[in-house]
Symmetry: C2
Subunit: 518 residues, 2 copies
């Protein structure tokens, strides 16, 4: 089979052999032979994005919902650059990603042609980089990149593919490499002592610690010993809803997080990093571990947090059962659509087995409470703080889980970074309901301007935070890309539009007009 196989064909065969079924792509000339090989490989489907931020965010959403790596195809350095922000979010999510980045033919690089740039340096800021120089390298390098992406806890890797390594014959599929599994925690006894000390203990869950088995173990510990539980502020994938333990997220606003962690004598991180503020603020501490409290690492990212929590629970809470959240939905609200009311519409109407992609920013402060007792669902959040993740991640999640309804709750300002991902939703007929929380402002910056004490400027008047001159009509944008859309000005209208959107197959967008928080 490898007789006469090009590098590109060897790459596709290696990907397919590793279980990759989808490549999210925005190709260019240097990737033509990859495209030809992709068209000829029935096991792998190409999903086109109109801009690389849509492509990389979709690969992240896909990786979060599957065991397989998210694979992208990008066009040289500028393609990687356009995709960098959502790859940053994927890196923070520990999503296994393999970027295939085309490059000029090896012998063409000497000319410093217009598209030449330092791909290697940019890719190295994300994770491991592989560069094939001959077609014989490509399969091996691809297998190594796939394994490196999947090494616990998951990384963003890049395979740079020169055009001549891609088009020349002499390729062979790479032999699959078993990725490194999570290592065993050695801190279970230490944390058990802290839990039994009688002092106040907080456990902060992250990574795999936000999935059902870990949550159940953590809940047993909490039930037995009164240990307080939180999940990290921006989990890659949090399982929650009726029947699962309800664990609050650590607050984004430092004062809220300080209050949540206040009085703790022991702070235990389990799959999460030690808690710090998102930004620095003048005169504020960045470290959120309370003064005088002891920090314990039950499991760092890359360690087996689920087993560690289960072992800990067996030690300190042998007889305890987890506490499932009761099924409970809020009443449907009426009247004006407000930050305080719109989440109840979602809580009341969220379909079974939904995936929520949460990029609500300031508009979503009450979302978690409103959906805590809704049917079981996953929440994918903005892991790296690079806004513009929501629409692409929802797109990739829907490709990964076509049988599940995806609900993207999406701030308006953030939506505009990667709005073209709506087109991919229409093209692929994905079952995504996008609710734009449209407050016509960068409301979070109004809040942050106040919080950073940057002075004499009235946040509501700062021109650079205003998105209302002119107003953006999201229904026009959606319809222009083939996604049916509607407007909701009241709670009743949002309920009506949301019910219809989730009932119909394919993508929908609802422009929910709410006042800004500030």
């Amino acid at each position: 089979m490898s007789e006469g196989m090009t590098g590109a064909q060897a790459l596709l065969a290696t990907l397919a052999g590793a279980g990759v079924e989808v490549v999210f792509a925005n190709p260019g000339t240097s990737e033509m032979h990859f495209v030809a090989a992709l068209e000829a490989e029935p096991r792998v489907r190409g999903v086109l994005g109109l801009a690389e931020g849509a492509v990389t965010g979709a690969a992240d959403g896909y990786a979060r919902m599957t065991a397989a790596p998210g694979v992208t195809l990008l066009h040289l350095g500028p393609g990687l650059g356009n995709g960098l922000a959502n790859l940053h979010n994927a890196r923070r999510a520990h999503s296994p990603i393999v970027n295939v980045v085309g490059d000029h033919a090896t012998y063409h690089k000497q000319y410093d042609a217009p598209l030449e740039s330092d791909i290697d340096a940019v890719a190295a800021t994300l994770g491991p980089v592989f560069r094939s120089t001959t077609p014989a390298d490509v399969g091996k390098d691809a297998a190594a990149a796939i394994a490196a992406a999947q090494d616990a806890p998951g990384s963003v890797t890049t395979l740079i593919l020169p055009a001549d390594a891609s088009w020349s014959e002499g390729g062979a599929p790479g032999r699959p490499i078993t990725p490194a599994r999570p290592t065993r925690s050695s801190a279970v006894d230490d944390v058990a002592s802290a839990c039994r000390s009688g002092d106040p203990v907080v456990i902060l869950l992250g990574g795999e610690g936000c999935r059902e088995p870990a949550l159940r173990a953590a809940s047993r510990i909490s039930e037995a010993l009164g240990v307080r539980l939180f999940v990290e502020t921006f989990p890659a994938r949090l399982e929650r809803g009726a029947g699962l333990p309800a664990v609050e997220r650590l607050g984004y606003v430092p004062e809220q997080a300080e209050q949540q962690l206040g009085g703790a004598r022991h702070v235990v991180v389990a799959g999460a990093k030690p808690p710090t503020t998102f930004f620095a603020y003048p005169g504020k501490r960045g470290d959120l571990v309370p003064s005088g409290a002891e920090l314990h690492t039950l499991a760092a990212p890359g360690e087996d947090v689920t087993t560690a929590l289960e072992e800990l629970a067996d030690l300190v809470a042998p007889g305890a059962a987890p506490a499932p959240a009761p099924a409970h939905r809020p009443e449907l609200p009426t009247g004006e659509l407000l930050v305080a009311t719109w989440p109840d519409v979602i809580g009341a109407l969220l379909p079974e087995d939904a995936v929520i992609v949460d990029e609500t920013n300031t508009s979503g402060l009450l979302l978690a409470a409103a959906t805590a007792g809704a049917p079981r669902h996953d929440v994918l959040s903005l892991t790296g703080g690079a806004i513009g993740q929501g629409i692409p991640v929802a797109t990739g999640a829907a490709v990964a889980a076509p049988q599940r309804p995806v609900v993207n709750l999406q701030a308006d300002g953030s939506a505009m970074y990667t709005i073209s991902a709506l087109w991919t939703q229409a093209r692929e007929g994905l079952d995504v309901t996008t609710v734009i929380l449209n407050n016509r402002a960068y409301a979070i910056l109004r809040m942050e301007l106040q919080r950073t004490g940057a002075g004499d400027v009235d946040p509501a008047k700062a021109g650079l935070f205003d998105l209302s001159t002119p107003d953006i009509d999201f229904t026009h944008l959606a319809e222009g890309m083939g996604v049916p859309a509607s407007v909701a000005n009241t709670a009743e209208e949002l309920a009506d539009r949301f019910r219809r959107a989730v009932a119909e197959p394919g993508p929908h967008l609802i422009d929910a007009r709410i006042p800004p928080l500030l």
Copy 2:
């Protein structure tokens, strides 16, 4: 004045002192004090972009049309990443750009907070990088960055501004530094000998060589000695039209460029790099200097090409006058809108003193001929091959030259990378007419698939090149962002819509529906 001045205020004062009147911005929390200082500095205006590709492309367009540097404000590594593709184009245009990239406070970096990434490594792929660590550094570093950006031939520089260096007091405006001027050519005599040899000579003009004084000098040489002239394939800013020497661009397709340079015994580059193909193709040479021809560098980028051409002309063509293009407009075409007909509409109706932003790709093959005798105008082209430049560059050009009509001739696929720049055009009331050449395909990739010989795939059937499922309705997209829009299906309709768009102030978009080249 520097008493109690913060780093941010020192930065703004330094920018304003260097003549900077505009900052193209997409800020975040770490940039709040810069925003507050900007709101308080009457000499500098903030222009908001909804995504960083719009911001950096606008700064490039602005820099191409003014003597001042284009300044951006970007939010940490992800903001720089999103802006990287158009900064790549700016680097290839030799546009002087200063990126101000906010960073976490110096003491916050230890926490590896979610938005932390290696800004320095990414910025270093573009050009010189400055990182201020104290407020006292900021003014000095800003002055150094501005000078480095303006050192001939112009560079993309980055000033990384930690939040605490920005918000703390102790800043002072940086003393302006005189940038390095272009160096004198030492090759005039050598090139004069070649020109007088009687052998066939080609001069390839680039950079400042595409502006009026250099074009006139080159035209004198051509008139006197029959030397053939070309401008580089993708000039940053080409002055042309009736009354100026008409110089053909070197072709993008290698066979065309080979034919243009064919038979030359001497190839002289003047402000341009030696000619090479854009991409490598299997079995093709990348070097476009004909075998056996001698390459002469009259002026490399960064050398004073205008003076060198004028000295050369005085030596070899003392009595010759330049040959101005005659005023001539094509007839208005009728009937179906085709790749062969739409350019004549533009040629017939181009307003006086226009700026054309050309991202037509495959649809624009006949544009140069159709506009050669139109009233004098500038052409800004896709210098670095990173598509998605047109709408932002047009935006920045219109900010720089508010009295000139800007005409953005824009391929559909390329438009979708940075479509949100239309919103900035509406917000700022910019006089930009965008004509979408809408062929519902990545037509250039269909062409390149054939050219690279990537085999058995029918280009017209390759799903990854198809933009028609679903069709994108650009009038909806434009109107959703406050830009009036219309459709043109025939040459008559395009003429009607174009006439009206250029007659009315403010931005307009015309969705011109044409068949793809392939």
